[in-house]
Amino acid sequence: MSLTTAHSVVAPSANSKRIAGAIIIAYALISIVPLLWIFATSFKTPPDSIAYPPKLLFQPSLEGYCNLFTTRTRQTPEYINSLGPATGFCDETTRKRNMVIAGPSNFLPRFVNSLIIAFGSTFCAVFLGTLSAYGFSRFKVPLADDLLFFILSTRFMPPIAVAIPIYLMYRELGLSDTALGMILLYTAVNVSLAVWLLKGFIDEIPREYEEAAMIDGYTRLQAFWRTVLPQATTGIAATAIFCLIFAWNEYAFAALLTSGTAQTAPPFIPTIIGEGGQDWPAVAAGTTIFLVPILVFTILLRKQLLRGITFGAVRK
């Protein structure tokens, strides 16, 4: 190592950097292949999607997206000819395969359910979490450590284990297969993460701010509202996105506790069936649409990621 180029005696050599870079880039590219493949499949026609050898080059088509949002029935060519002219791209593509659109598919309502349940539970979890985190951070709460550990430990339970009694409880209360029931459940699951994360963020805000505000004549509540909340905005936003990602991706509870009206997208996407098996382009289209928000959030969250996935136990 020459003394002129190295800032520190232990900086890795240029060569070792290059090798490390090459390995990491190779890993990243290989690990992203399944995702690119699903993205590509969403633009294939059903025959192209099951061609062997797998088709790398193909004529892009929106058939998968069209099939995702509609249900279709097979008809005789005579019947199809007796219909009026096809209205729009989707109708035309469907008729090419001797099918007519029978109506909208269930994907859109499931997607909307996902939105409602994910955003609803995130709002509740962050709201309750902020209050509790402030409580734990600023007040002398008896048995604070035990309570915090209790809150964390609710995450140890396998979802299936609590699903049985929750199923029974929801059946009694009329909450089974309702968005409200799922929002309550996901709020309870997420609130543990929200409290732990937000407590870390609020601990970092100097308490002098509130003290100064209170000397100015604000009550504790006003001081919280005017000084702590604005300071904690970044932390609250990061926490919200982590809760959102969890609720968005959750499968076990959704699969066991919802069957129809309140079903979310994760248990629904695998059930998209075409003629003679899974309609892979439609499944891929649903998956792609479902993944886009998460990818955006991942990029936004880069800096907070570590905190979020470890309950704030590790900071970067």
Partner: protein, 315 residues
């Protein structure tokens, strides 16, 4: 982690000034702020848990709500501990947890160690590597099923292209000896970035001056790795193993979507057995007892592990 909490609480002792605020007292406010969360958790987590404990002593079946519920005492627990299938499921789970953690830790740590060299563009590639872990395990499981399809899937094609084995004989999901590995591969693909990220934080936390000192002492790179890098990153690696261990012990989504526990029961992990008993056979009492045993096992193992982790941290 908890020590820091205690410090903060101690520092939070209200100032005399704060005690005299108008309206609600600080103590009242603290409870007002904390109680909704605690009440929600009591209602949605603790109450169901106690209900499950109660059910575990009965022969209740959720699909026959009108039947008379009989108290069985510890009979359910006895049957579970004597049930061969349950033990096989536990073994399968242990097998998955072992292999996924081993692979994820090895690959994840290596990747972190390489990224720590801060080559040009490392931030971008790191973010790209992190993408799989942000996805829904269910959706991931479903589209890997497509990749694994023997005739049409990309995975079988690539393997057969490289190895020359005809793709029809690469039955990842229906071959008894390959099916467990098909799940281990997907889990490793998805969660290695998670371990990598935590290891990376560990490596970045090692102060530079230690290496400088080692360099002055002319310690070899190998020696530096074993005496500095690894021990100082160890608490972080152990934390990653803890989180992955708890998660993989509960593993359900991916297995359910990829193999559903099959072929036969070769990939039937504890959660799948639990689902079959509870929601297919409707043996609610019996499955509740199994759920309690699982919960106690996770809780117990996690506690023992955290004690070990704290010892490593204090070194």
């Amino acid at each position: 982690m908890l020590n820091r909490t205690a410090e903060n609480v101690a520092r939070a002792t209200p100032e005399p000034l704060a005690r005299k605020v108008r309206g609600i007292s600080d103590k009242g406010l603290a409870w007002l702020f904390i109680s909704p969360t605690i009440l929600l958790l009591l209602a949605i987590n603790i109450f169901p848990l106690f209900w499950a404990i109660y059910l575990s002593f009965t022969n209740y079946r959720a699909n026959r709500p009108n039947e008379v519920v009989k108290n069985l005492g510890f009979a359910n627990y006895q049957r579970i501990l004597g049930d061969q299938d349950i033990w096989i499921a536990m073994q399968t789970t242990a097998h998955f947890v072992f292999w996924t953690i081993l692979l994820q830790t090895l690959i994840g740590f290596t990747l972190a160690w390489l990224i720590d060299r801060k080559f040009r563009g490392h931030a971008f590639w790191t973010t790209l590597i992190l993408v799989p872990m942000m996805l829904s395990p269910a959706v991931v499981g479903n589209f890997w099923r497509f990749l694994y399809e023997p005739q049409i899937g990309l995975f079988s094609y690539v393997i057969s292209f490289v190895s020359g084995i005809p793709p029809t004989s690469i039955q990842m999901l229906s071959n008894v000896s390959l099916a467990p590995w098909s799940i281990i591969i997907v889990d490793t693909w998805m969660w290695t970035p998670y371990v990598m990220l935590i290891c990376l934080a560990g490596l970045r936390s090692i102060p530079e001056y230690i290496y400088e000192a080692a360099e002055v002492d002319r310690a070899s790179n190998w020696r530096q790795f074993w005496s500095i890098t690894l021990p100082m990153a160890l608490p972080f690696i152990m934390l990653a193993v803890l989180f992955r261990g708890i998660e993989n012990f509960k593993m359900f989504d991916m297995v359910n979507l990829l193999t559903g526990g099959g072929p036969g029961s070769t990939t039937e992990v504890a959660s799948i057995t639990l689902k079959r008993q509870a929601f297919e056979s409707w043996r609610t009492g019996y499955s509740s007892a199994f759920a309690i045993i699982l919960f106690v096992a996770v809780f117990g193992l996690a506690n023992i592990y955290v004690k070990a982790l704290n010892k490593v941290k204090q070194r």
